[in-house]
């Protein structure tokens, strides 16, 4: 598993490649938490385009980060899921909690609209 981190205006963008299971969940959680703290993150975008497998261990980390971002009154968004990943997210109930989109562009549009509303 590998990550690419990018930060724009206190929004942390994380592109994940590989399988999110019991092996990778721990590293995933630690690296995300470190980046969230170091980059003064308010909002979090998770790009799942290159995630080839996910199970409950990976989902647990995603939901945990969602709660963390919520505490900071930020917005977390996921996007780019393939059909298999989407089905698992759907079954888990996560899709009714975390905003999910097809692309990064859609995620930015959502974030801008949300921020306008709050301003």
């Amino acid at each position: 598993m590998s990550f690419i981190f990018n930060s724009k205006n206190r929004t942390l963008l994380v592109k994940i490649t590989g399988e999110l299971d019991l092996v990778t969940a721990k590293e995933f959680r630690e690296r995300l938490d470190k980046a969230i703290d170091e980059m003064f993150t308010k909002n979090l975008f998770l790009d799942l385009t290159r995630v080839s497998f996910i199970d409950s261990s990976g989902l647990g980390v995603i939901l945990g980060r969602y709660r963390k971002i919520q505490e900071k009154r930020g917005i977390m968004i996921i996007y780019g899921m393939n059909t298999n990943i989407k089905r698992i997210l759907e079954l888990s109930g996560i899709l009714s909690i975390i905003p999910a989109f097809n692309s990064e562009n859609e995620a930015w549009t959502y974030l801008e609209r949300k921020s306008l509303k709050e301003a």
């Binding site: 399988e19 299971d21 019991l22 092996v23 721990k26 497998f53 199970d55 409950s56 261990s57 989902l59 647990g60 939901l63 945990g64 298999n84 698992i88 079954l91 888990s92």
Partner: protein, 150 residues
Amino acid sequence: MDKIVRNQIKLEFISIPENVGLARITIAALASQLDLTLNDLEEIKVATSEAVSNAIIHGYRNKPAGIVKLIGSLYEDSIVIEVIDEGVGIADIPQAMQPAFTTDPERMGLGFVFMQSFMDEVKVESEINNGTRVILTKKLEGAGIQKAVS
């Protein structure tokens, strides 16, 4: 009448997270001898991952010294995956299988939800301090075995 086993594998491994992927790939390779859709294969991988993760996390409390046993069997009309640990066991099986039930506050209690949604049958046998056996069955539509015996 007992069903005829068309193929069977048995694998034993120590209870470390790295072996979850190994178990998943092994079962997927076995399952691909059947005429399954990619969707079915994905579902079997998730269910296997959940059962093996549970054996390691809960059964052996994340200690690497346990042995997890994996048996994969292909029948005419089904694939059966057994995941066996000799760990702490489950006190209340119906409760453990309820959606969102977990004994670990960091987790979501989704493992059994996925196993039950993705497989046709989930059987759990467990005894406190003696371990747990999870038996997952997926039935095939039509003559699934043809590929395996040709």
